[in-house]
Symmetry: D2
Subunit: 359 residues, 4 copies
């Protein structure tokens, strides 16, 4: 139950970092969408470890297979099962973790909850679980673009104190992809890369902010009350590993303004309504207003550091531990496709919900 | 569908600001819980307008009636329907809104979505909808306290630039309730009240931050992947009217630290595990770790200001509008019971889910 | 959770037979549907006790009130809360039931499950709960007729051994309503009435079969696998009080034929596909094929008989009990609107689901 | 969405008869259950084609692989993905079906719904989809037996007009498995086998009834109103391919009795409540009463017959078709494990739901 997301475009991910692989079942996909592995693999390549010098070196090709739900290159309307094998299983690297809980990882809480855990890596809590999300998100993005004209984008906005200057209304995908940190502000991107490399050398890690953008969503998507568009986005983002915060539009900064300053005034031109500012971030009362939707997600510094740290063991005795897992100095470049995927999943679900009730 | 929240302790709110009233159906409540209107009314009184000089003056007693689900003062295990009549209906105050969209309200987006709207106040988008949430939340809090020993608390942490100093591990309910702004830092509270009064006199509004706290939750509540405890809290908070941001534990601030600095080290004492810091905010991998859970929610300044502002009308022509609804200079004091209610609803749902799978 | 039905057109009923009343919240209703109490009351009148000499004499007007979700006579797209007060509360009639479990009622099982029960009548297990279903079903029928051209109908097909001859493709609503037993075969209807009256005089009860019909559903509604149209209908019908069986199309009788005899052969005329027989009952592989959908539901004889019967008390001692509740000699005439309501709820939900994924 | 079943023990099946295989994701399984492929394979072997001379000769080993959710032979509490490869893909056998709709199959309705279909066999509508159900059901049965002491059983009760005499309270699994038709009445079983062989030789098919039994369920499982235990069983059974009817306890036959005759009288012995008859089939008001639960499911004769029949093609022109798929003269022996699986899935879900709310 906990492994499903969405109501009408509903995904269920499965798999641990070590074992038979990771994957996802996508239920509710519209039929007759052109779809092959080639539509999905590029986003997985952007998510996978080992893609550059500033991310985790885990060696896996992350090659996706479609096991069901398509026929002759088109979706059938039936569940699409996507599978990626685990290749880089090195259980011996984790032997010490069998008896010790890594600080700020989920080892202790999983053990407290289930009384059992897969100690070979993060198990279900590993970022490897997001393979299924990104694969499903690639399908969602395709539907949004081809059937609704909606574009999803994300990029690194901030690494520690280094902040990029980006215009959510205009930034382009190729600008994001033009450097390994996935920050479209090229000058700042170079600084970010240097900081991350410094961290890697120090065996330490660093966090930051990914900004997500939705362009072209029509007014009317989203729901009043609990399933507000921003509420579903917030849940989607806080469900990503290492995320700690979410803000939409003006976010925390908006509280420094008064109501008069903060209100987005409506204007009309050619019978089309727009706002002169966009503190709302494209959503009002939980429903899209036709402006660009944008939001920011904070990712903490990755917990795996290459230093000895205090912790406790499975018998609840004090001890120390030096992590031996893959060192990922900064999750942000790989978090970009994750944020895009979750955004697309939220948006396509609301697009279908809107069609059902109001279409 | 959009008006329901929770999986096992599931609430469905209904009602508009003008019409037969507002209410909630609570399905899945454990049986044999002592429950009368007297358990619910106090939280509604903390939520209702007109309770002090710094909140909306709308005059309603907000008296709750239990229509079903209890017998001889105890819950039956069947759906509990709670109803609060609307009393302060003044549709004439809203006549101008019939033809004009208020800036940064949901008037335009509701019209875009549904092609129809109740223009007598905010309709379904009114904060009045939260009556049902707060009523249901009172039941959830009672279950958490009586059956699980878990305490829920919230308070105003910041109003515009005025920041309170509060210890989430120690703050007491009576400290929160000892002033009208619901800030337990008494010196700072007085400053907040003065600022809000100034805003009221200026016909303007101000926003800020509410901090929510959960104490006594055992390790093991929450779920991996999508229904992480912090993800459900984020959704719950972003579903509240006027909220724009959510952060748990270190939140946005955590990105300024490195991984070594940010990790919460485990220690054990008498076979009990704890952490020496709490940047995680009591949740790791989506599951509670036994430490205090705390998070912050940003509420924007209320959109209804007593000034003429540019906007468009229902025919999509440019015009101006001066709001005539109730002037609520700051939503924060009334947001405190809303945050508590949503927190309790998330926690009790996860408590029951944990019992089902792992109990 | 257990009190909700439907995914996109989702209803939640609440209320006990004694207490503040019974009702329903309808979430997901399309906006701009003309709707007032006058659209709902007629079906409630067909459901209520006291409408004729052959049904329960409980005296209640069952007057429905719309508490939310409409404005100026149209639906808003927000939750519609419908409420019917309880009027005929006679708790003293049930005093003996406080200590004794009525045979073949839910008194014992509710007590076993919850450890508490409302002994003043059937509580939540009373057929009175179906008020909410019938009220919601009236809205569903209106949508199906006005927006999809689909007609829902039900009638009494059999009372004990008395079987009516009815053509599901042609039977008319006014034929059903032309007699108090709601059987469109007028000759047989008179016999049914005589049998029921005889039962009433004997203080006994009798069961039978209600047939449900859906005409005008296009090919393509319903889902493969679990949410097959007939599966959802089966659940809907078996959720009605006193129902014991469901069959679609050829049903149990179909097993007497061989595959060659049972297959419905396709033919085409003017590019329109039809079948020459309809053993499938209008559904193939869980999805409507454009033919008339028809099914039968068996209702057992009502458990409340006016005779002393063996039973046990709340202390689990053997005793006897003579029921003093209202004597309802045959539930069938009142079950007709219940079957229609549940059928409409299933169909409208699938209509919206189809629109979302394939529309 | 349509491919998921259950609320707390939630399964999602995926896969078509031709393609990468079929499988299931099981979410919500309690942790620390001993589980390997050896616990699942036996039920798949009872389901698979080719197991005897009276069932479909399709040649597949149906070997199950656990891809996730277990570690060192125990469940982790995370999603369990089970996969069975397709081996007997013979698309050429289906070439004619590419252009023609088989009578009483789902070819036409799938095409009407989705505008596309996998014509290589039944695709998603193939009974092969039940591989996932039976695999998940094996886990559910294990939990029910080991953690709740509840036993699930099913057997062939009737083939066309041949009816077996079986006592649901006493029948044993080995009696069911002692012959290839899975009917525990050995004399009658032999007659059934002869009839099915006769049908096979005639290129025709025959249907019948499977009876399902639950023994040892405590009083209190199930829910009032919509999620009644019998309602969920009815949905589960009608979701199986080829099923047309469901009855619980006295079922359709119960309508021949009067209320006095039909009531199950309560008696108590040693503070334990039981009923002297069991027309209710072990469920009252939707909730188990501690007696044996039993019900019957009708399966129509399989639609694939080895004869030329009228039909239409994809251009909606009249034509004829002679099926060339595998000839399965009687689905009943293979339906037995399907009925058991769906029963177990319903029961385990309600067991967990009961624990959550009332445990």
């Amino acid at each position: 139950m906990a492994s499903s997301f969405g109501r009408l475009f509903r995904i269920t991910t499965w798999g641990e970092s070590h074992g038979g692989g990771v994957g996802v079942v996508v239920d509710g996909c519209p039929p007759r969408l052109k779809l092959t592995e080639a539509d999905i693999q590029p986003d997985l390549d952007r998510r996978r470890p080992g893609q550059s010098k500033i991310v985790s070196p885990r060696k896996e090709s992350d090659t996706v297979q479609i096991l069901s739900g398509t026929f002759e290159g088109k979706t059938l309307g039936t569940p699409i099962c996507l599978w990626v094998k685990n290749e880089d299983a090195r259980p011996e690297a984790y032997l010490e973790m069998k008896e010790k809980f890594r600080p700020s990882h989920a080892d202790f809480t999983y053990f407290a909850k289930y009384g059992v855990r897969n100690w070979q890596g993060g198990g279900r809590a590993s970022a490897r679980e997001t393979v299924g999300r990104v694969a499903a998100g690639a399908i969602a993005r395709k539907i949004l673009l081809e059937r609704f004209g909606v574009e999803i984008l994300a990029y690194v906005k901030q690494v520690q104190k280094i902040i990029a200057d980006v215009n959510p209304d205009k930034v382009k995908f190729k600008e994001v992809e033009s450097n390994i940190v996935r920050c479209p502000d090229q000058t700042v991107a170079a600084k970010m890369v240097r900081l991350i490399e410094k961290m890697r050398r120090a065996g330490d890690t660093v966090g930051g902010i990914v900004e997500g953008v939705v362009r072209g969503a029509p007014p009317g998507w989203g729901e009043p009350v609990f399933d507000k568009l921003e509420a579903d986005l917030a849940k989607a983002m806080l469900s990503l590993p290492a995320s700690k915060a979410f803000e939409i539009g003006s976010g925390f900064g908006g509280i420094l303004l008064t109501g008069r300053q903060h209100n987005d005034l409506f204007r009309a031109r050619n019978k089309k309504v727009f706002t002169t500012t966009n503190f709302s971030g494209g959503i009002q009362g939980g429903i899209s207003n036709g402006q660009t939707i944008f939001f920011r997600v904070a990712f903490k510094p990755v917990a795996t550091v290459m230093h000895t740290q205090d912790t406790v063991d499975a018998a609840f005795r004090n001890t120390t531990l030096k992590a031996r897992g893959r060192h990922d100095p900064c999750v942000l470049p790989r978090a970009v496709p994750m944020v895009e995927a979750m955004t697309a999943l939220v948006l396509v679900d609301h697009a279908l919900r809107h069609k059902a009730q109001c279409g």
